[in-house]
């Protein structure tokens, strides 16, 4: 299957997130890695108490190349009725991260929920979270090389050594003159019979 690893020529924008920022009802804030910590601290003090998710996104060719996407929601542990929860405000913080220095400050001390989420972004995108207490791979095996969700990472993984095939399955070992199609089994039977010193049964023409 062909893969859309690079934006197609007809794509309207290198950064699709910049095109229609008002599609859902979340407020969108764009920050740099230097500002993200102060922004999220301020949002947390404003009542955005739950960090719903941290995700990554890769836009090769754009500068900065990566986005770390934080989803926050206003929620209070004191809310005890459906009306008190209401329709909570959502905010989405997009932090552009340059490829040259893919480092973002960690949020795991502000929200313990960030721990695994940041590990996953590190694992799958190769972005580093400075100050994270335990930054290691979470989904891929520890010895894995590369970061699979990057767009330049091949869909089916890196080329690997294949399981060795038995010699009879190698093209180079098939005797010349083997019929092209439909007769391979018969040809193999002849080879085997010849190797055993028997006369091959001539049932197939």
């Amino acid at each position: 299957m062909p893969s859309s690893q690079t934006p197609p020529a007809g794509a309207t924008a290198l950064d699709p997130t910049a095109v229609r920022p008002d599609i859902d009802d979340a407020r969108i804030i764009r920050v740099t890695p230097a500002e993200v910590r102060a922004t999220l601290e301020r949002l947390k003090s404003e009542g955005f108490a739950m960090l719903l998710d941290i995700g990554g996104a890769d836009y090769p060719g754009r500068e900065p190349r990566f986005d770390v996407v934080y989803h926050l929601i206003v929620l209070s542990g004191a809310a005890r009725t459906v009306a008190a929860v209401g329709r909570p405000e959502r905010v989405r913080v997009l932090c552009g991260v340059p490829e040259a220095d893919p480092t973002v400050p960690t949020m795991s001390d502000l929200w313990p929920a960030a721990d695994w989420a940041e590990r996953e972004v590190y694992d799958l995108f190769g972005l580093r979270f400075s100050g994270h207490p335990d930054l290691r791979r979470i989904q891929m095996p520890v010895e894995w090389e590369g970061h699979p969700l990057r767009k330049d990472y091949p869909l089916r993984g890196p080329a690997r050594e294949r399981t060795p095939r038995p010699s009879f399955a190698l093209k180079s070992n098939v005797a010349a003159g083997t019929p092209a199609s439909g007769r391979t089994a018969a040809a193999l039977q002849r080879q085997i019979a010849a190797a055993r010193g028997q006369t091959p049964k001539d049932d197939v023409k």
């Binding site: 979340a26 998710d53 995700g55 890769d58 929620l75 009725t81 929920a113």
Partner: protein
């Protein structure tokens, strides 16, 4: 080997760390880990000092796969994340794509009702698995058969609707693949009729069982503020007293029309999570009964815009245009305007969100799942501390992780 350094997985492994402490690696083949979870625990006697869940054994790269499939194909792999309630995943993703296309308001009412119906059926089915296997974790074997029988009847309905027991790919961008077949509502009525007596039996077997109560009450206590800081959603959050339910907070697919209660408990222990899920199943059945009445009215189930709706199958043999149109949608899908969107629904485990980015192509550029059970499972690091190692299985069961979704 110490906890937290990526210890190799060899089943139950015990290391004496000296000074009375012991490090035990539980899983990933442990039967009560609901799939493939490894928990590296540091013990003193029987008390857990530290627990570090290791995930990733079921990582299948579904997000990457989805980014390399057409918009119309991506929901097939996305359904396989949370394999206990496949249609919830598809529903969230498809509604996100519909938002990007700007056609959310054009989805036929009957399609929305059927989506609600199937999502609620799958919530019950998913909770049945949790109830059955959670009971087995605690030694209550009989409940398993009652719960799985109920689930099997729901899967029969899924099979009737979409042709496959678990991953029917029945929800489509713009509506449903087909209308609900003849006989579906009759089978649904049979399910509704057998549901309440069955839940009565299950409650008698499990909820009122003094051994189970002893095992669950005051185990794995989680407070409301901690739950919010750890990103807990769904029944585990509502068991701490916070009535956050996406169906109420951000109604989608017509949920504002249905009457149901957001079930909460305040204890925050494993028993509270157990009770919230049980009561939630009854609320789901309440919704199903209301949808059932609405489904009497026939109507279209696919958006009228032929850009997204493939032509009816019977016209393909008769009309050249229909054949070409069908071929175009199947072979190259359609293009989605660039932009990003976050669409969340209330899955059986909590807020199931999709952050979808389109760059204007016929494939999604980025599909990020907000996996509720990954965040819910992470809190095991906190709630297990100070508990007995024997209660670990209770706590894992009460968080109800599904590893297709945790690892994706």
């Amino acid at each position: 080997m110490t906890a937290g350094t990526g210890a190799p997985a060899h089943g139950l492994e015990i290391v004496d760390a000296g000074d009375g402490r012991m490090i035990i690696s539980m899983g990933p083949q442990h039967p009560s880990t609901h799939g493939v979870l490894q928990v590296i625990t540091e013990l003193e006697g029987e008390t857990v000092l530290r627990a570090d869940p290791e995930i990733g054994y079921l990582h299948t790269g579904i997000e990457k796969s989805a980014e390399n499939l057409f918009w119309t194909q991506a929901s097939t792999v996305i359904e396989r994340m949370d394999y206990l309630s496949p249609l919830s995943n598809a529903c969230a993703f498809i509604m996100g794509v519909e938002q990007l296309l700007g056609i959310t308001g054009d989805i036929p009412v009957r399609a929305q009702q059927a989506r609600v119906l199937l999502c609620e059926l799958h919530r019950i089915a998913s909770h049945c698995v949790w109830l059955g296997t959670g009971g087995i974790d605690l030694g209550a074997i009989s409940g398993f058969f009652y719960a799985f029988d109920l689930r099997e009847r729901i899967l029969d309905l899924t099979e009737l609707s979409g042709g496959a027991r678990m991953h029917p790919n029945y929800l489509r961008i713009g509506g449903l693949r087909d209308d609900l077949p003849d006989g579906f509502l009759r089978k649904l009525d049979e399910l509704i009729a057998m549901y309440y007596p069955r839940m009565h039996d299950l409650r008698a077997l499990l909820q009122k069982n003094p051994i189970l109560q002893d095992r669950m009450i005051d185990v794995g206590i989680l407070g409301a503020d901690d739950a919010i800081a750890w990103g807990i959603t769904g029944p585990a959050l509502r068991a701490t007293g916070v009535p956050y339910d996406v169906r109420r907070a951000f109604p989608y697919s017509g949920y504002e029309q249905y009457e149901f209660d957001v079930v909460t408990r305040t204890e925050g222990d494993a028993y509270a999570r157990f009770m919230v899920r049980l009561d939630e199943m009854d609320q789901s059945m309440r919704i199903i009964e209301q949808v059932r009445r609405k489904l009497e009215t026939p109507g279209p189930v696919m958006i009228a815009d032929t850009k997204f709706a493939p032509p009816p199958k019977e016209t393909i043999a008769l009309s050249m245009e229909a054949l070409i149109h069908h071929f175009k949608i199947v072979s190259e899908s359609f293009r989605v305007p660039p932009g990003d969107v976050y669409q969340a629904i209330e899955g059986p485990r909590g807020e199931l969100g999709y952050y979808i980015v389109s760059n204007g192509d016929n494939r999604p550029w980025r599909v990020r799942t907000r996996p509720p059970s990954m965040y819910n499972l992470q809190v095991l690091k906190k709630i297990a501390v100070g508990e007995y190692i024997a209660d670990m299985v209770v706590m894992i069961g009460s968080l109800d992780p599904v590893f297709g979704e945790v690892d994706r």
